[in-house]
């Protein structure tokens, strides 16, 4: 996750873990690699939730790699691991500081990340929307710095708006999206990704939820401490990663295949992803599966689900999302009952991810940055 100092990377990490540390209606839970790390996250969240002070800024010496395992507990109580992901937390100045000395190891980690999540500081966005100096400075300084790093990557990128609780009372996601698209560097990045067929999203999250903290005139956030935080949508960025990665790879395969064909196929507009794959590959899932990177060579049923619920033409997006909610809820319930090993656990977790992603499309259709 990329973001300047103070944008909320560490607080997001702690809140995401807190929300997903036990299996609730989201259908899975997270474990972190090592008891020390778990304690650290719990202590971080405790500091966020009940202490007056916020955690101090991440030190430059800290580049923390957190390996999370998605696990599923079945109705009969056995627990299975489904998949793993690694989250990189670091001091934001590393990417914004113009005097930063070359750090090959850190640069390599960014380069090899499967997805980059660009964190847009909700406080700075609010200032931008109000045409305040801090916001304008952010838009011409920190934001382009971050976008430059993101632009270098060939992997999927998403934007996460932190501190959504600060923004949501005054601005809609559409208004924020429109304002961001007025920034050339932002618009250019989005355009490039659109042209490549790579999904790109704008996901509002709040690590503490509405009403927990109040923005002060001096820019600090004062906690109310009268209630506990209620993290909002902190699970969504994670849930979008795998389905979107698959879509990116499949899109690449479609383009490569089209280049190979001596007579280019006429791709009809408004075809679903499944239909486009069928038109180009014809022979079905097995061929497609074997062309994917190894870590995405899932079982047929799972892959079929991912393709089925992959991105549709934008016009149909929200209506489809609403229609699919019940379908996905049923799939999720059924797949939980069917969990009996790691493969079925993964299938269930992917269904959970698809459900969460669908909820985002349904509640925040503007989160899809595919420009018409």
């Amino acid at each position: 996750m990329l973001g300047p100092s103070g944008s909320g990377k560490t607080v997001f990490l702690a809140s995401m873990f807190k929300k997903l540390s036990t299996q609730g209606e989201l259908g899975f839970f997270l474990e972190v690699d090592g008891e020390e790390k778990r304690k650290r996250l719990v202590n971080l969240y405790k500091q966020i939730a009940v202490e007056e002070k916020w955690p101090i800024g991440t030190l430059r010496s800290e580049v923390s790699e957190w390996i999370f395992t998605c696990r599923v507990q079945t109705p009969n109580l056995p627990i299975y691991s489904a998949c793993q992901f690694e989250y990189l937390d670091y001091a934001g100045g590393r990417i914004t500081d113009e005097l930063e000395e070359e750090d090959r190891e850190f640069d390599d980690k960014i380069k090899h990340a499967d997805t980059l999540l660009g964190l847009l500081d909700g406080q700075r966005l609010r200032a931008l929307m109000r045409n305040e100096q801090l916001g304008l400075l952010w838009a011409i300084g920190d934001l382009p710095n971050m976008l430059t790093v993101m632009q270098r990557s060939v992997k999927p990128v998403h934007f996460v708006i932190s501190k959504w609780d600060v923004l949501e009372e005054e601005y809609s996601l559409k208004e924020i999206r429109d304002r961001l698209l007025q920034i050339d560097e932002f618009k250019n990045l989005v355009n490039l990704r659109n042209q490549a067929g790579s999904p790109i999203r704008l996901i509002p999250v709040s690590a503490v939820g509405k009403g927990f903290a109040t923005l002060q005139p001096d820019g600090s956030m004062v906690k109310s401490l009268a209630s506990l935080p209620h993290p909002f949508q902190v699970e969504v960025p994670l849930a979008c990663i795998l389905p979107d990665m698959i879509q990116v790879h499949l899109e690449e395969l479609i383009q490569k295949r089209q280049q190979e064909l001596s007579t280019p196929l006429e791709i009809k507009p408004n075809l679903s992803f499944w239909d486009r794959l069928g038109q180009v590959f014809g022979s079905g899932l097995r061929t497609i599966r074997e062309l994917l990177p190894r870590k995405y060579q899932f079982a047929d049923e799972l892959l079929e689900n991912l393709v089925k619920f992959a991105e549709e033409p934008a016009q149909q997006k929200q209506t489809s999302a609403v229609r699919r909610t019940e379908e996905l809820r049923q799939e999720q319930a059924a797949s939980l009952k069917a969990v009996e090993d790691e493969e079925t656990a993964l299938r269930h977790v992917v269904n959970c991810f698809l459900f969460i992603k669908n909820q985002l499309d349904s509640k925040f259709p503007e989160s899809n940055l595919k420009l018409l």
Binding site: G93, E98, D218
Partner: protein, 490 residues
């Protein structure tokens, strides 16, 4: 009284700028190495009477010793207007990480609170200048001062040694001598040379048992090369492979006269091809299902040079070279086969499958003898050692495992790569194993000690195939970077 040369340093942040080195020794400023301090000086707030001690190795300016404390920045201790803790623009409290740096590793330096308090006063002045900066500035240079060892010293909390270069540290703190390496390890220096670029990814390589010939495959082209004369011949060339096509491996017969592989031919037919190296005569076996239903992924030739076994998406088939006909296929259903080898007596076929299962088959009866759930992910390659007692398997799960052939039981996990392993092979004397993986590396393992004795880096993409040239002094590897490499043990 012992005296040391020391410099002060400060790492902190201000209202606008993230944690960075604010003050650094002058020699580090001159070398452009001040960022190191921000990375190496870390910790929670120091307890009273305690300082952090850290040794830094391999930096641009040599080894260093750091002694420092982490304290809260307050208006009172920095002289900045206001009261109480200083906070950044987001309301978060700020730490000062301040202390001394010495050149080299100095384990007998004693620092007192009085010294740290004294340098704090100097550092606070620099912090005041730093407090309002909104743009990055280079660190301020601190000058050398003489540090004398004090009687009243702080207790040290010793942090793990920091490697500025990222390499493993051979610490002067080691109390036990480094073990003398055995003769094999002492000789594990390897040099490599690329053998030339191919027009496309090298998907398979093989070496004849007498070490005179190598064969390699890219796309739908199969080439043999005489290692002594360097004469190169194309045995087969039918153009580029399409997206979705798979490439079967190459295998030499025991007598070095035959070379076999699987090929996708006209009308999407999956064909087993066998060439006589000397006469260039070609045999084709048709019988696998067409298109993706019958892709050939594994090939082996029995030690008596008479039978070819092919495996793939539609199971395992047996072909008689003499008659040119199909000998049959294995009766029990097997899932997609990705690896095959044959026992030394030619009676048992060992297959590795997509579901991570190793199966042992009787060639004569074509029946399954035993099935072992060997890996959690697809098996990519299987090899049997020259005495026929040990089997090695490698998998997408990044591990290499050894199996007792007679008991069909696991001996051990030999080792791992960081990414899926594509190929594994024994040396001609059975003492070494070589593996090649998606992590671009070739590794050499000693079977007896179960240790990795060499990690060979040089390929820039996945290593698809590896083999020993007989004599265990040379390894051949093929890679998706379109090259092959010969690795010579120095």
């Amino acid at each position: 009284m012992t005296m040391f040369e020391a410099w002060s340093f400060l790492v902190s942040r201000n209202q606008f700028l993230d944690y960075r080195t604010v003050v650094a020794p002058n020699f580090m400023c001159e070398a452009g190495a001040t960022g190191l301090l921000a990375k190496a000086a870390e910790g929670d707030l120091s307890d009273p009477g305690i300082a952090y001690y850290r040794e830094v190795y391999g930096s641009k300016v040599g080894d260093l010793t750091l002694v420092f404390q982490v304290v809260e920045a307050t208006s009172e201790n920095t002289g900045i207007k206001g009261s109480g803790n200083l906070k950044d623009a987001f309301g978060r409290e700020i730490f000062l990480i301040e202390g001394i740096a010495l050149k080299g590793i100095v384990q007998n330096v004693f620092v007192s609170q009085a010294i740290l308090d004294k340098i704090h006063l100097e550092l606070a002045k620099h912090y005041q200048e730093f407090w309002s900066q909104a743009n990055s500035q280079p660190a301020t240079a601190s000058k050398l001062f003489a540090l004398s060892n004090e009687n009243v010293k702080l207790e040290y909390k010793v942090l793990k040694e920091y490697s500025a270069s990222g390499k493993a540290i051979v610490s002067s703190r080691m109390e036990t001598p480094i073990e003398t390496k055995n003769s094999t390890e002492q000789q594990c220096f390897w040099q490599s040379s690329p053998t030339g670029n191919c027009p496309s990814e090298v998907v398979s390589i093989a070496c004849s048992s007498d070490g005179s010939l190598i064969a390699f495959r890219y796309d739908r082209t199969v080439v043999i090369r005489n290692l002594h004369t360097q004469q190169t011949d194309k045995l087969y060339s039918e153009g580029k492979i399409s997206l979705g096509d798979s490439s079967a491996p190459l295998v030499f017969s025991n007598n070095g006269r035959l070379l076999a592989t699987g090929m996708i031919e006209f009308a999407d037919q999956n064909t087993v091809k066998v060439w006589n190296i000397n006469t260039k005569q070609e045999l084709s076996f048709h019988g696998h299902k067409p298109s993706i239903l019958g892709r050939i992924r594994a090939i082996a030739i029995t030690p008596n040079n008479e039978i070819v076994i092919s495996g793939g998406d539609d199971g395992i088939k047996i072909w008689d070279i003499k008659s040119g006909g199909e000998f049959g296929d294995f009766l029990e259903h097997s899932s997609s086969v990705k690896a095959i080898t044959v026992s030394k007596d030619g009676q048992t076929i060992i297959s590795g499958e997509v579901k991570g299962v190793i199966k042992f088959w009787d060639l004569r009866s074509k029946r399954l003898i035993q099935s072992v759930q060997a890996h959690s992910l697809p098996i990519n390659s299987i090899a049997i050692n020259p005495n026929g007692k040990l089997v090695a398997s490698c998998s997408d799960d990044c591990s290499i495992k050894l199996w007792d052939f007679k008991n069909r039981s696991e001996v051990c996990v030999l080792g791992q790569h960081s990414e899926p392993i594509n190929s594994v092979a024994f040396s001609s004397n059975g003492k070494l194993i070589v593996s090649g993986a998606d992590d671009h590396q070739v590794k050499v393992w000693e079977v007896l000690s179960k240790k990795c004795i060499a990690v060979l880096t040089g390929h820039s993409r996945a290593v698809t195939s590896v083999a020993f040239i007989p004599g265990e002094q040379t390894v051949l590897s093929g890679s998706r970077d379109c090259t092959m490499r010969l690795w010579y043990r120095a």
